[in-house]
């Protein structure tokens, strides 16, 4: 038998299990243009819907005249809020406990807001129909600044005012003002303030983390098809959480859940943009019910940038206290969060500011206090986690900037300041002042490795020389060394803490082994490019001893996949990956009994070895998993049901806490504001590594999105609430030209509570990358008196920093 001459090493290699750089099985179709995205779906008689959008940021709707639009050839219907109201669908619930208009109900609150939905035979007729809808607006005072909004008499949302005229309570408690959404607090205010007030050294800083947008390559869209004969609604769409969408659609439409099938086909990137529910989904469903035909809605790029789910927009003020030697004693953070016209943040219900309370970072800070105030303005709703777990990017940017500012205050090297304050390896599991329990970490080892690899001392010497040369007029270029050490909090999450709209954030995997020794596994998650079909098969290969190439991974169809909460916040590996391993272990447990029967020994006398069960002490006596699979279906085994299947729903006991050390070396042209990234080193510790090649790809992608955000990517508004960056000409999406070479590295500190020790990696590089790029720029100007400048660091803002420091005189 061939098996007998195959070495154990070869058998391991043949599985392509965990730890190998298995090539992505998805790429064959993606690189050949054979993917199947939502816009590729074409059904008989399919109609196309598109929106009339508001040109104003704040206006009363006086009248909507659809008569001319209905005369446009090919236009079948125009829906307005009046049509949706009898169905109770003119407003919809948001993920944050607020409500959002589906179509403008009496007023509009942001530029680009959905006013009417034109349904036509194709998208060309719909575009002509949109132009023919006549909307009469009465402009209202626009509030784009959350601080002004909190003082303004202008009421943005009439539903925020109680009958007696006072601010009505919101979903997360009382309001301070009618334009105020919530106050959320974590930590101990009294002790923190006392510590800071009595500290030897205090550093304070105010920083604005600007509004930006995840901007996936594929925009949002859906196809709704209501079959009036069997009463079933099928909804294809760009959903990062298909099961949650099914439940939400059922709850708001009244259609029973078994009559709704939600399918996420291939998705071209999500990054948080595709977590929420959008008016386009609701209108497409209604239009399909009204017309009896399938209705497609696809955003164009401008729609996507201007209206669906922005990210960030946090005004943060920090105070950090320390001893003169640099040991941090306390941290205070206040955030004014600009949520736009509706609070549509995609956060677990109990966390209206996400996991912003991870803002003590990687440091052992004894006492801390966080307060977040959410505010309505005339901007688009959203507040999603753009390639990060909930608000973690904001938290890590905040603490990594505060560390730099404290280093300036202490006149200390920022790398050393970090080292002094890191949580020590032996302190894990570590209970942070703001409530989280970090599972595992070895920060000092990672930091030392990073500093040594880049020759940190040498870089600092070179930088000092550059400053001298600059002052002597020998160069007009400055050198910045960006440091960042981050701890992520991912894998939401324990159901006791984390739900979205009441849906617990577990995840799931269901496995069927076929008689000939191949398998299909279905999960509650959905890949948007992460390569789940590749990596989950690797987890299973190692767990059940069948080759990854013989395992199909399927996600995204709610009629076939087990219930799960989807893919965002780096939760797929920590939660669904754990479910996969646990389901695999159930398969293995049954396989053990079958093997023992076949080998005529007791269950306890066989043990698993790569791809087989062997009789303990007699490795020549074995049954391969392939043989066991066949026997499971085709041999009558007393006391054992036929078949080999398993399902696991996994509720993680804790989050996972990936971490990493990043260093960026940058040269900055003081006269033009052009930054040139000379070197970028990224060390990631994501626990057990499933596929090193995919990890590297994820790191490259996350860093590139970090570069974008740090160096220019923003959704900017003028005073009238007009979006200034609504196209890719002005919204910075880096191309190969703008992207530097990245050096990747790693350490491995497994998660102690995860079945395979994996922590998740997709978002780490973004979380750690943004402060690293920003710190490099800020560091270049530190010798000339810079403490902090706000992102995005585009050419003119870098130039402005230089100019204000007198470097152009």
């Amino acid at each position: 038998m061939k098996d007998e001459v195959t070495s154990r090493e070869e058998r391991i290699e043949n599985l392509k299990g965990m730890g190998c750089s298995r090539k992505r099985v998805e790429d064959a179709r993606f690189t050949q243009g054979k993917g199947n995205y939502v816009d590729d779906i074409k059904l008989d008689g399919m109609l196309f819907g598109d929106f009339v959008r508001s040109p104003y940021a704040h206006a009363k709707i006086v009248n909507i005249d659809t008569s001319a639009a209905l005369e446009v050839p090919g236009v079948l219907a125009v829906l307005t809020a009046k049509d949706l109201e009898p169905l109770g669908l003119h407003w919809m619930p948001t993920l944050a406990g607020d409500r959002q208009m589906v179509l403008a109900d009496g007023k509009v609150l942001f530029q680009g807001q959905e006013v009417a939905f034109v349904v036509a035979v194709d998208r060309y007729a719909a575009a002509d129909g949109i132009e023919a809808v006549e909307v009469e607006y009465e402009e209202l005072e626009v509030l784009v600044d959350p601080f002004k909004a909190m003082k303004s008499d202008v009421v943005l949302r009439p539903d925020t005012v109680a009958e007696d005229g006072s601010p009505a309570a919101g979903a997360h408690g009382p309001r301070k003002h009618h334009n105020h959404i919530f106050t959320w607090e974590a930590g101990d205010k009294g002790p923190t303030f006392e510590t800071i007030d009595n500290a030897e050294v205090v550093a304070e800083e105010t920083m604005y983390y600007h509004r930006t947008h995840p901007c996936p390559l594929e925009t949002c869209g859906c196809v709704a098809s209501m079959d009036k004969v069997n009463g079933k609604l099928t909804l294809w769409g760009t959903f990062q959480a298909p099961h949650a969408i099914r439940t939400v659609v059922s709850l708001i439409s009244g259609i029973e859940e078994h009559n709704i099938r939600v399918i996420s086909p291939d998705i071209g990137g999500g990054f948080g943009n595709k977590v929420g529910a959008y008016p386009g989904y609701v209108c497409s469903v209604v239009a399909s019910i009204v017309t009896g035909k399938p209705v497609k809605w696809i955003e164009d790029r401008m729609d996507n940038l201007m209206t669906t789910a922005f990210a960030r927009d946090y005004h943060m003020t920090g105070r950090v206290s320390a001893t003169r030697e640099g040991k941090i004693t306390g941290l205070h953070c206040h955030v004014t969060a600009d949520h736009g016209g509706f609070d549509a943040c995609a956060d677990p219900t109990k966390f209206p500011a996400g996991f912003m309370n991870i803002c003590t970072g990687s440091y052992d800070i004894p006492t801390a206090f966080l307060q977040v105030d959410g505010v309505y303005t005339n901007k688009a709703p959203g507040g999603v986690s753009y390639r990060c777990s909930f608000r973690v990017t904001e938290a890590v940017y905040f603490i990594e900037r505060m560390i730099e500012v404290l280093a300036i205050e202490l006149n200390m090297d920022a790398a050393e300041l970090r080292r002094i304050n890191f949580i020590k390896k032996e302190q894990f599991p570590y209970k942070a002042a703001l409530g989280w329990e970090y599972d595992s970490g070895d920060y000092h080892t990672a930091w030392d490795k990073a500093l040594k690899t880049v020759d940190y001392e040498g870089l600092r010497a070179e930088q000092a020389q550059r400053v001298e040369d600059f002052k002597a007029g020998k160069t007009r270029s400055l050198m910045g060394i960006g440091l960042s050490f981050f701890t992520e909090i991912v894998g939401a999450g324990p159901v006791k803490n984390c739900d979205i709209l009441g849906l617990g954030m577990f995840d799931s995997c269901e496995i069927r082994i076929h008689p000939t020794g191949s398998a299909i596994a279905r999960l509650g998650t959905i890949s948007q490019g992460q390569g789940h079909a590749t990596t989950f098969a690797q987890i299973l290969a190692s767990e059940i001893g069948l080759p990854a190439d013989s395992i199909t991974i399927e996600e995204g169809d709610t009629d076939t996949a087990p219930y799960g909460l989807g893919t965002y916040g780096s939760r797929s590996t920590p939660v669904a990956g754990a479910a996969t391993a646990m389901a695999g272990r159930k398969i293995r447990a049954k396989a053990q009994m079958i093997a023992a029967y076949l080998l005529e020994v007791h269950d306890n006398d066989v043990e698993f070895d790569v791809d087989r069960f062997v009789v303990k002490g007699a490795p020549e006596k074995f049954k391969t998993m392939k043989e066991i699979a066949f026997a499971a279906y085709n041999q009558a085994i007393p006391g054992i049901e036929p078949g080999l299947e398993a399902v696991s729903y996994y509720d993680p006991p804790n989050m996972t806490y990936p971490f990493g050390a990043y260093i960026c070396v940058m040269d900055i042209d003081v006269d033009t504001g052009l930054p040139e990234i000379r070197r970028f080193y990224a060390l990631d510790d994501c626990g057990t590594r499933i596929n090193p090649m995919i990890i590297e790809g994820q790191v490259h992608g996350g860093l590139t999105e970090a570069l974008a955000v740090a160096l220019g990517q923003e959704i900017a508004y003028d005073d009238m609430g007009n979006v200034k960056t609504g196209t890719l000409m002005d919204f910075f999406l880096p191309t190969a030209w703008e992207v530097p070479n990245y050096e990747t590295d790693y350490t491995v500190t497994p998660s102690p509570h995860h079945p395979i020790g994996a922590k998740g990696v997709g978002e780490s590089p973004h979380v750690g990358g943004v402060p690293c790029f920003s710190n490099a720029i800020q560091d270049a100007f530190r010798p000339f008196g810079n403490r902090h400048t706000n992102m995005p660091h585009d050419h003119w803002r870098i130039w402005k920093t230089a100019n204000e420091l007198g470097l152009h005189d």
Partner: protein, 284 residues
Amino acid sequence: MIPAAFEYHRPKDMAGVLSILEEHGDDARVMAGGHSLIPMMKLRMADVPHLIDLQDVGGMSDIEIDADTIRIGAMVTQHDIIDNEALAQAAPILREAALQIADPQVRYMGTVGGNVANGDPGNDMPGLMQCLDATFTVVGPDGERDIAAREFYEAAYMTARGDEEVLTAVTIPVPMGGYAYEKQKRKIGDYATAAAAVQIVKDGGSCVSASIAMTNLSDTPIYSEAAGDALVGTSLDDAAIKAAVAAMLDDIDPTEDNRGPVAFKKHVAGVILRRAIERAWSRA
């Protein structure tokens, strides 16, 4: 991003083009590569009931080089400019500039004629052609006429070309001396924050002629005669370059946009021009 309905015309010769233009006047526009016009139509900012595609007209895709002049047909693409060795020998500034326009995909479609005729202040070729003292040939119902590039641009999207005329060729005197096209932009595919085209002739250590034009720093390209004059007769010492930069700054009139405020643009314009002058001088 879907244009209003339009009639698509694809005439086989220039007579056909002109007759459609004559018939529809303002309602008709010719299209070469389409990389300026089609986005404007998709945004419904340009209303073009009759679109005339020049692809089949022929006779406008040649690059002809003789001892004194270079003639570039209006349908020559940016890629053709980059790809033409003889042209790179005769006028290397053209390749240097074309390589800084957009990205390869756009350069395969975008044409020299479209770039200069559209009158978009962000386009790179108009300033470059002013620097090189090019002549644009247009043909209309009354036959052909030539317009100097330096006289062509009136305001953003407003040029000396009549509505019923088609720009067919660009003629350039073979440039002499050193050259540089220096451009600052935010990313690949962006218009210039500031760009400078410089052509300098040096004789015995002193500058005998200098031509300077700037891009995207006013609502038209800016040929700064005074900036060039400030260099002539000098050895391009620091004082001369400063004088040239100061003269250029007097001629430009940038506006604030997402690239930055006016003060920044003027500063960068000065830096870019200085670098262009120094590079051109080093090649002269």
